[in-house]
């Protein structure tokens, strides 16, 4: 345990999360994955948006960027394209990534930029006390869906896959071992990777929907899921209504920033007279 504390800014603890929240489980899985992969702390930038889950970066001892609501992936895009050698990881929530930031999610997927996005999906806006999110299941309650949610939620993994993400996986805070393994694979994947983590918000979602406390909410999540490998052996009627967990999509495709570096190399080969040193004034650049 003690060795993982070195990944935290211990002077910033204790954290702000409620007892029984799943955010700590996911944050723990992330640092253990980084530790087991043996990655250099100084070569990792962790970016987040706004919401409970996005507060994780404040506690983590890396270069960390706590941005505006919904824009974590857009900020991360700038970090990654400016310095493609950095590992860039985004921690975001379901409101942050699927509502206000949905556009950035699908476009980062489309570009296949080398960013790992961990979406902590707790079915609600926890920071603002339990409003319905784009991931609140149909019929469930939220403070802005007091008569049951009339909207339908996304299948975020299908969305990411359709948009072009080359690694897509889903885990839950109940299936911790799987979660850590999938985060590891996502970090090492070359291209845009998404790990959706179904997580519990007992304080708002669990209580509002009379599911119970942390344990009951965690079990409620577990009972809806089925591992993708197990599901493959089952007849369709037994898979009906179940949420698949595990590695759902893993393909190879050229990564965006590497392709851009190839463009630079090609352009510079055909324009040998141009000033290459970024620090040298280029007034003459367009003079012919």
């Amino acid at each position: 345990m003690a060795e993982f504390l070195s990944y935290f800014r211990q002077d910033r603890l204790p954290h702000i999360w409620c007892p029984g929240c799943g955010n700590g489980t996911v944050t723990g899985a992330l640092v253990r994955a980084i530790d087991k992969l043996g990655l250099d702390k100084n070569n990792i930038v962790i970016v987040s948006g706004i919401g409970c889950s996005s507060r994780a970066v404040g506690y983590l001892d890396f270069d960390t960027l706590h941005t505006t609501h919904g824009r974590a992936i857009a900020f991360a895009t700038g970090v990654k394209l400016a310095r493609p050698n950095l590992k860039v990881i985004v921690i975001t929530g379901d409101g942050d990534s699927a509502a206000i930031g949905g556009n950035h999610l699908i476009h980062a997927a489309r570009r296949n930029i080398g960013i790992t996005t961990i979406i902590i999906n707790n079915d609600t806006y926890g920071m603002t006390s339990g409003q319905a999110s784009p991931m609140t299941p149909h019929g469930m309650l939220g403070t802005t869906a007091p008569y049951g949610n009339v909207e339908y939620n996304f299948d975020l993994c299908e969305l990411a896959k359709a948009a072009g993400a080359t690694y897509v996986a889903r885990a839950t805070t109940y299936h911790y071992v799987l979660l850590e393994e999938l985060i590891s694979k996502a970090i090492m994947h070359k291209g845009f990777s998404v790990v959706e983590t179904l997580s519990q918000c007992p304080t708002y979602f669990g209580r509002k929907n009379k599911i119970g406390g942390p344990v009951e909410t965690l079990n409620w999540i577990k009972d809806q899921t089925i591992n993708v490998k197990a599901a493959a052996a089952l007849p369709p009627e037994k898979r009906e209504g179940k949420i698949l967990i595990g590695e759902l999509h893993n393909v190879e495709k050229p990564e965006f920033t590497q392709q851009y570096l190839e463009v630079i190399a090609k352009v510079q080969r055909t324009n040998p007279t141009y000033t290459r040193n970024k620090g040298v004034p280029g007034c003459e650049l367009n003079s012919d």
């Binding site: 970066v57 505006t68 857009a74 900020f75 970024k278």
Partner: protein
């Protein structure tokens, strides 16, 4: 190197200056009348090893620029009214977190979609107060193509030096107008670069003199492992809700730019010393204004001209001093009196400030301003 004359557009001059200043990263979204800047960056940046990305919207564009700047790259975006409005939240983020970034706003008539291909100067107040909360910002207004080059370069100098977003308030006429420009010898320029700490040991990302000091900025990925947050933060970068931390931070940010308003003043003055009437303008409106003022002078009237190049922070004392002889002031601008508000404040309420606003999407004709001068005399 010999100086070279070149026929170029304002937008082109902005781009060339940015590259001369060491631009490494451009993120943008197409919008008239700024699009040429994105197009040129897409073509030119790879040649110097820089990066261009067309983002999915203007919010993404400025967000990506801020992310890039955090790694030490000089970053810029370009847009016009509707896109500038979308960028406001992130401009506030850059102000609070003190991330250097340059934003070229080639103004067009608004609000809303307005008239995309017609000029305006209606974003003056948005440039100052567009994001929520008190915040530092610098805005520069070029009055011709050569100044697009000079002030874009200056924008990088100020942005890097003071760690603030700097806005170049161009407009459709300045951006699209072509003029012969003699560019300065590049060796005369010193490439702007933010002050960086020497080593990670004991680094405090927001430690600075509370009276407007600028903290040292460590690039991401160099072992500093610091936290950048849009929450109010202490000198260690840790989020804080303590009243004294919030107040100290906010006042330092305000002093950082506000205390330097007169030092940052940049303007062109003509015949103000003995004038009875002063015309104050900026950007493309000032071209017509200057023509009218000179005509009035030639007819023997004591008329002077002040053209502002730095509009934010507003150099109140400097402007008051320059206008001391004027008994009346006319402010021609392509909006309904935004600069006039500042001139009224600087000049005092004991003399008339005549608002000569225009929001038809047309440029001023010198005759209109000349007629206003004659009427006021």
């Amino acid at each position: 190197m010999a100086e070279k004359a070149k026929l170029m557009q304002g937008n082109e001059a902005c781009t060339m200056a940015a590259i001369a200043a060491g631009l490494e990263f451009f993120a943008g979204y197409p919008i008239t009348p700024s699009t040429e800047i994105a197009e040129m960056c897409a073509e030119e940046l790879p040649k110097v090893g820089g990066k261009f990305i067309q983002m999915e919207d203007e919010i993404g564009s400025i967000s990506a620029c801020i992310g890039a700047s955090l790694t030490g790259a000089k970053a810029m975006t370009a847009t016009s009214g509707p896109g500038f409005s979308l960028m406001q939240e992130a401009i506030g983020y850059a102000s609070l977190c003190e991330i250097p970034v340059v934003i070229i706003n080639v103004q067009r008539v608004g609000p809303s979609t307005g008239m995309p291909t017609s000029p305006a100067q209606g974003d003056l107040m948005q440039a100052r107060w567009g994001t929520h909360g008190d915040h530092p910002v610098i805005a520069l207004v070029p009055g011709n193509v050569k100044e697009c080059y000079e002030l874009t370069f200056r924008a990088f100098e100020l942005s890097e030096k003071y760690r603030v977003p700097v806005i170049v308030l161009s407009d459709e006429v300045i951006g699209h107008m072509r003029e012969k420009v003699v560019l300065p010898d590049p060796s005369a320029y010193k490439i702007p670069m933010r002050a960086m700490p020497a080593s990670p040991a004991g680094y405090k990302p927001y430690a600075a003199d509370p009276n407007g000091g600028v903290p040292l900025m460590a690039p991401f990925g160099m072992g500093y492992r610091w936290h950048c947050t849009g929450l109010f933060h202490d000198e260690n970068g840790a989020p804080s809700s303590k009243p004294e931390v919030a107040s100290t931070l906010m006042r330092r940010l305000e002093h950082k730019v506000g205390n330097r308003a007169e030092e940052l003043a940049d303007y062109v003055a003509e015949n103000l010393d003995d004038c009875d009437l002063a015309v104050v303008s900026f950007g493309s409106s000032a071209m017509a204004a200057l023509s009218a003022v000179r005509r009035a002078r030639n007819e023997g009237h004591k008329v002077g001209m002040l053209r502002l190049k730095t509009v934010w922070p507003f150099p109140t004392k400097t402007v008051r001093g320059l206008l001391k002889s004027a008994k009346k002031i006319i402010v021609p601008e392509m909006n309904l009196g935004q600069l006039a508000l500042e001139i009224e404040r600087a000049a005092g309420c004991d003399r008339p400030v005549i608002r000569l606003g225009k929001v038809s999407g047309e440029l001023f004709h010198p005759d209109e301003i000349f007629a206003a001068i004659k009427e006021a005399l």
